[in-house]
Point group: C2
Amino acid sequence: MHVFYTPDLQDQAHYQLNEEESKHCSRVLRLSVGDTVFLIDGRGGLYEAEIETAAKKHVELRITKTTKAYQKRNHHLHIAVAPTKNIDRLEWFLEKATEIGIDEITPIICERSERKVVKGDRLEKVITAAVKQSLQAYHPVLNPAVTFSELLAQQTNAQQTDLHTSPQQTNAQQKNAQETNLHTSPNTSAQKSVSKLIAHCIDDEQRRYLKDLVQPHGNYLMLIGPEGDFSPQEISSALAEGFMPVTLGTTRLRTETAALAACFEINYLNR
Amino acid sequence: MHVFYTPDLQDQAHYQLNEEESKHCSRVLRLSVGDTVFLIDGRGGLYEAEIETAAKKHVELRITKTTKAYQKRNHHLHIAVAPTKNIDRLEWFLEKATEIGIDEITPIICERSERKVVKGDRLEKVITAAVKQSLQAYHPVLNPAVTFSELLAQQTNAQQTDLHTSPQQTNAQQKNAQETNLHTSPNTSAQKSVSKLIAHCIDDEQRRYLKDLVQPHGNYLMLIGPEGDFSPQEISSALAEGFMPVTLGTTRLRTETAALAACFEINYLNR
């Protein structure tokens, strides 16, 4: 099963792979005229297509079957995670979270983050590879890295916007969002209030399991801290902003493992 | 928090790190007399110790605090997984499963396995590193790789043994098992019947979610297939041996992701 990621594919009946993908299709995969391939537009569209022309730099396809909203999730999951010191671990998380199901990822630079910089294009490639491999019709959105306080501010602003936004405006905003390649899941914070969660490692009584805090079919934002955990100031400012403290279990988890555990759990609760 | 894995530690009041660990302790970590370290014996013992001597090749410790059965799990999880073509993916699974919680792992060589050989010592090191990092007092047991049919045969034999084994014999067997460094969790198959599960990718009606198949506090054996899935013959022979077909969700998961998803789900069901 050969899958290509074609974000610019609209509803046309024919599609031409770009030079790189054409080369991959005709030379690496050695596919030829009449062979079937699958296309994913990253916005829920899954397409079956037949190869009409198979030149080295020029592969033309005829769409033979279109499925919209393929395996559309019943919830919206946004995980904001501190990039790991060893970037492989963050890349690993992105691959696995994409396989299991995630809508939005934001790298957050925290007080104790050893890594302050992330290369978005590299991470984007990892996500796209996982999208193709696991046949996800919705491409998770990787937001630019922000500081912890910037993320909290974004949330506060988003909520204030929601309060003064009519459904019409929301749809318009979504259209813009789509055009500017922002996230376009139905469960945007503009439509449903966000369950704001923070998984910190300080062992206090307040932390509870996700299943005791959130409802299915929700819109979730989960914060996962760096190797050294969030600072007490970060935790208290998040709690002040209405984030609920979460425990992911009794064992010590690495940053990327905690982020994936949260991803597993939210998807599990939404089965 | 500096953790050392000391499988030969019994109940003595003093312990000497081996040459390699001594060097790591005194030269790499630059710890000195009076500093505190933690020891894990891999059989449930967590020890706090103070450095009495800190020579380059000779670090002596005095045990100051002993905790037995530290974070003892309330279930027994054995995952038999086909080694991935890229061994990094299997190593990644071992690290993550150790963090989340697993008792026993068996690499199984399947009909469609591209990788037929695994180096146990290398994988053992990965598990031990994760044990120390995530402070697991119980060291997961890595069994030698076996073929799929050998694994099924082992299960049949184990069951027959159970039927004719008195508790006394079982305890004796466990003592031997401990001496020969086999698995020593209380939930051995000799004590509790095993929930036998197989997660295959053929989309049929029979597959059910784990939560609908197993009870908490159980003894579970989960089979995870290679990149190309189990062969139909392997699936039917497993079903004939009483394995229950499981689905881990609707998305396409890589071998190591499926194995970790199963590990996460079993731990989740046993909270």
